[in-house]
Subunit: 272 residues, 2 copies
Amino acid sequence: MVFTCLGKNRIKLFHSLHLKKFRDEHAMFIAEGNKLAAEILRSDFTIRALIATDKWYSKVTGTEDSHKWQTFELFGNAEEIIVESHDIIKRISLLSAPQEVLLVVSIPSYKYKTEDMKSELALAFDDIRDPGNMGTILRICDWFGIQNIFCSPESVDIYNPKSVQASMGSITRTKVHYIGLEQFLKEVNDAGDIPVYGTLLKGNNIYNENLSPNGLVLFGNESSGISSVLMPFISKKIYVPDFSMHNNKPESLNISAAAAIVCSEFRRKAND
Amino acid sequence: MVFTCLGKNRIKLFHSLHLKKFRDEHAMFIAEGNKLAAEILRSDFTIRALIATDKWYSKVTGTEDSHKWQTFELFGNAEEIIVESHDIIKRISLLSAPQEVLLVVSIPSYKYKTEDMKSELALAFDDIRDPGNMGTILRICDWFGIQNIFCSPESVDIYNPKSVQASMGSITRTKVHYIGLEQFLKEVNDAGDIPVYGTLLKGNNIYNENLSPNGLVLFGNESSGISSVLMPFISKKIYVPDFSMHNNKPESLNISAAAAIVCSEFRRKAND
């Protein structure tokens, strides 16, 4: 743990992390606010820098003596501790209402074995685009004990500031893998014994289906659904029936609402 | 149907509708984009003005002769049809990427009889704050055939541009009533035979509960939950169990994810 200040260049660098291009280049992302900082401080993530106002440190550590809080074990996994004015934090912040604390975090790299899906449930998203949906989906997965999420490379980046914020702390407890889904699904099929469910607007009513406690559930893009090239890899098509009373029916459920219902049904049935 | 232009004052007036104060004053809201416009044009909403580019009208009507499309029955329920440049539309628009069409719509007023909950399911929200959640919840209600939604007066305004857009067309098929929930719940209790479910972080596991096909389901604020003054009116406390594998568990489900799962469970059981 080093205790340092920020120069102009680093302020610029950290602010640039709101763009994927620079996140990829530096393999870092920004997490803002008290709650999220607390979750990440407790996690295995590598924290490159903890940047906060004097006021924040005093409040968190309960001491106004800055020499004391430098040694707090609470900040033990932060490589660098930086005290700055709220004005400087605002210049880095990606939020409309900047908080008193933000973290610069290394983007983790995750490994995954296809075989694992013989015993666990995982989700895959074909080209999901909305960062808020992506973050909400991590919270849902976290709630339902789903650890691995596979996204096509065109999908929204989970380290997008909006996704990070919407995930709350769930970004520390779930693993998002960006991977070409056609090749990946081929491997899943080849492994055998791994059911691949596709969520569509028709197929089998999810309420009446036997759902396995393991396997992969595939969701499509917000407007165009699942790409036709991925359809042959699906072993079971499922849908959430609508109960609309109108002739003019809603087109679809929001993708995070659909994911919530689908995860709930899988878990309910596995524990029935 | 009148065919007119916009002056400076009306551009300013329409743009001001992104603020609740002015929506309340003028009893109007803005709906933007092709899909939403199509849904509202098909609905019973009173459309005060349809504002679009020449390009949009030509595309929708399939004719470039503007005298022809003035008479199109598609626009029959719009009081005023206005052709403007995209620049003018941008000045009214509340979106970061303004579309080619927007509608100025009267805020509808809805009536409701407490007695109706003896035969139908309705939702209530105590101080819901996020406009995106609110819009998503209307889509969920629409999908599950829930028509009436009661919100405390402090809740986010459903005619907030973000809510309107997130609701997709569901804003035309659901009715949001702003009402003091303490008085309202008292009336519901007094009517008898109307179960009031409260969604909490503990209580009865929703998967194991008998859920009635009618009644009211109450949801709390995104961070503080259901106010203590409303607790005595709840006849059954329910929760969605978590399946998290971590010691450091997620605090809660996002409110729209919770609403999706709860609505799904009520409908599944009513049709079992």
